[in-house]
Symmetry: D2
Subunit: 282 residues, 4 copies
């Protein structure tokens, strides 16, 4: 029986031993282990993939023991069943490349997720949804007053009880109340190497500046624009021959790859958030 244990807590002597003993007591075999101590922040992070014997029946007991330990050591911990797919909502606007990529990885079983629905402020990508028999919610967001739309959006999201919301090139800025409702559970892909070219039209900004590399950033959404904790970034080389259209085209490949990698890291519980930065075990 595969179990994943993640732990974050103040740094202190003996954590590894205490946790290790507990796992050994239940005959757990640690398949993959990652630790990190952030000396500056005085914080400790740990992720274990563990195999317990197939006839393992003491998960509740293990859980109670972790509960007891956690008070003494101030642990924030999670016991996760890695085989259970996470429940995901995808949000898009008109650009299809990130959506098509995630749908492909999902239908080819590369991503272990349940896709609850696709939400969009446009109707353009309804066909991609219908090909895959996924509900498609069209919630237009009028420029002049977005309040009603965002309320409808929040309601729609809430009814699905998602584990995760993925902004797969959703070109609206989410309202703060929504961001605060799902902390560490909204992932965005920004089409620049943040913090360079934050905000609108990053490829136009990059073209103007004459940079030789363009990039993409997958990050958690918080209530400051394009400033949430970064999960993954990558770049692609460009040169003077590339028009803005070329940059958009090349950028699409980086965007979808960076989003897919960031998403996978999150789904495998490899990302910890602390002080607006991430610890990523990969």
């Amino acid at each position: 029986m595969a179990i994943r244990l993640t732990v974050a807590c103040p740094d202190q002597i003996g954590i590894v031993a205490t946790i290790g003993q507990l796992i050994a007591k239940y005959q757990g075999n640690i398949i993959e282990a990652n630790h990190h101590t952030d000396a500056g922040a005085g914080w400790f992070f740990m992720r274990h993939d563990i195999y317990f014997p197939t006839d393992f029946t003491k998960l509740d007991q293990l859980q109670r023991e972790l509960e007891n330990i956690s008070q003494a050591l101030q642990l924030q911990w999670q016991l996760i069943q890695p085989k259970r797919p996470k429940r995901v909502i995808l949000m898009v606007s008109r650009q299809s490349h990130c959506l098509a990529d995630i749908l492909y990885r999902w239908r080819s079983k590369e991503l272990n997720i349940e896709i609850l629905c696709i939400i969009s402020n446009h109707q353009d990508l309804a066909q991609e949804a219908s090909w895959h028999n996924i509900p498609y919610h069209y919630i237009p967001v009028p420029k002049q007053d977005k309040t009603a739309a965002f309320n409808q959006l929040a309601e729609t999201i809430d009814q699905y009880k998602p584990d995760l919301i993925v902004l797969a090139r959703y070109m609206q800025i989410l309202p703060p109340f929504l961001c605060q409702q799902y902390p560490g559970r909204i992932i965005n892909i920004h089409h620049s190497f943040l913090p360079a070219f934050a905000g609108a039209k990053p490829y136009h900004q990059a073209f103007e500046r004459g940079v030789k590399l363009i990039g993409a950033t997958c990050h958690y959404v918080n209530d400051e624009l394009d400033a949430g904790p970064i999960i993954e970034q990558d770049m692609v080389r460009i040169n003077h021959c590339h028009s803005i259209d070329d940059m958009v085209r090349l950028g699409k490949d980086v965007e979808k790859n960076v989003l897919a990698r960031g998403l996978r890291l999150h789904l495998e519980d490899r990302v910890f958030i602390h002080n607006d930065k991430t610890v990523v075990f990969n």
Copy 2:
């Protein structure tokens, strides 16, 4: 006889034919050719590496014909003898990695340059100079008043009549009068992926922001800080394990490689500046 011809001019029909005919008339064989039309700016750029017969004696005549053509077509052009080393001044502060790298590439004959002198606001790197029998000018730049120092600097530079000045981690901002005196002839290496983290202590800024890539930018110096035309950039992957010291160490390798590549591109006359951006033929 190897000759290099670079041309920049308003875009128009027939340039390639006109230049091509002229070269063929003198029995020139075009070894490497690069063209670029910047449609937005309406500007044309060209670089030819040409072999003329070994007994070629008509360089003056060719030059005169180019002179005549250039008036009609508004050409900015240069006939360059690529074998002649360019005259270079290196400027440094206390960090040695870029200097050591350039000196190595020079003594192993990878860079075709004549190093006129090394100028520094510190004495730390005098030994590197003396190992290579290169004059070392120590010109300290006091914080409170830099005027006298910069005048002495300008004088020192001027007396050498350099083709190029390389700021190989020279940690002072050059005064505008000096930048304007050598337009397109001062190269700097900045230790970030510009425009991200311009200004001081970019690695500290990158650490704070939690980025997953750090970079370096080789650019021409103009009178706006870290805003000159970019020649070359590159990045290296980092993660949560890397301290600022680690980033400094990893960054050094990117910095020296990006500077070496940018410098080589300039020395081979592959870089054209237009509207604060570069066209780089490589």
Copy 3:
């Protein structure tokens, strides 16, 4: 009117001038130009993207003049209308990642092609074809005797008169007679950095050897296995944590990206073949 001119010929003085004059005579504006001289082989390669005035009616005349020139200079040349989509057949087995990627790039208008049909030795990917209304030919290839199957395959291909055949993870070795029928017009993606790990199961070979990078190679097919001229290659970093399954998963992304890039280069007439190697203008 956009026209593309590609030229390959023995290296000689005056080619650029002659071609340049001809283009200028018809008021052609060279938008993008690439030349290369292979000094060792004594061969010259050229590719021009040209704009002629919109009311251009003299294409036939230009063609005749090129014909005349070509005899004197031994030119191999092509005048291409870049807007006309090339006619492409896709061939697959059971793996869908390369096919899905090409279909996505096609339906999002990133690739300027007409997809004539999909041919497979398996039925697995019929749905991808039907989603896109593309004919799907299922031609099984029995292990014991492949002759009949390959004849049927050749017939099917021939009837479509394709410009290009793309082996998008078609896991059969094409018979020599078919390779020879479409020289320089069959593109394959091999899932290793050739020539390392040629032949079957490259990821297993890579795992055994313990390499730290795995790659993919897009190449033209000739009648020697995995030995045709290479168009494009790329790599991705792996480590001791990666199982063969992980390598397969990571490799898929490299494979489809390398194939997409190689395919695009071919479609834009940027690839020249000479002596089993390629000149790629990009």
Copy 4:
């Protein structure tokens, strides 16, 4: 007091707990921890960087306890004082780029090593040694009979009692008896992406094949040519414009960077060898 502990042993339940308890008992704080289980080989690898209290006096006692544990668990283990520099011999032929790079990293304190001597079969690089006050042993290796030379070489090496021998472009194949004497302690840099282009003149082989990437491989030397366990690899992009000389020049940068990274990984005890492959914690 900084201590490093490396462990390799048959995989079994409870290792992490047992070791963790022992470290906690001595008030050790685990700064960096890495584990890996090779499920196929049934083998477990662990590396801990630990801080013990500054007045720690019980290293001997800890060592004895580890000794006791190691019998029960079949541990192969090492307690290492990471501050103590490893004793290194550098071997070179005529090419200087790897040597100059290592010497630079050593004199700028990036590499924590003691350089015992430089051994070469040529006299070319004696100046680099004398600049740094390092003994230089010139041991020519005549083509017709290498026995005497290799005996002298072995004697010279033995007298220094090195922890590590670095072949920094030493262009001779070491005799088997010498390889067997220093298993896992001889590091080589090969100028190709192994296993592609093993043996002599890899850049010539790469040029002939027309590959689009060239690489370098840092590996341990065993008694089979270019077949030892791989520590690190990297690649650089090339194209049809690059001559063999260009490839040699570009390759130098990859070679020295890959060697420097591989060397650093070894020096930090991050590399484990098992079944001719490596586990590299980085």
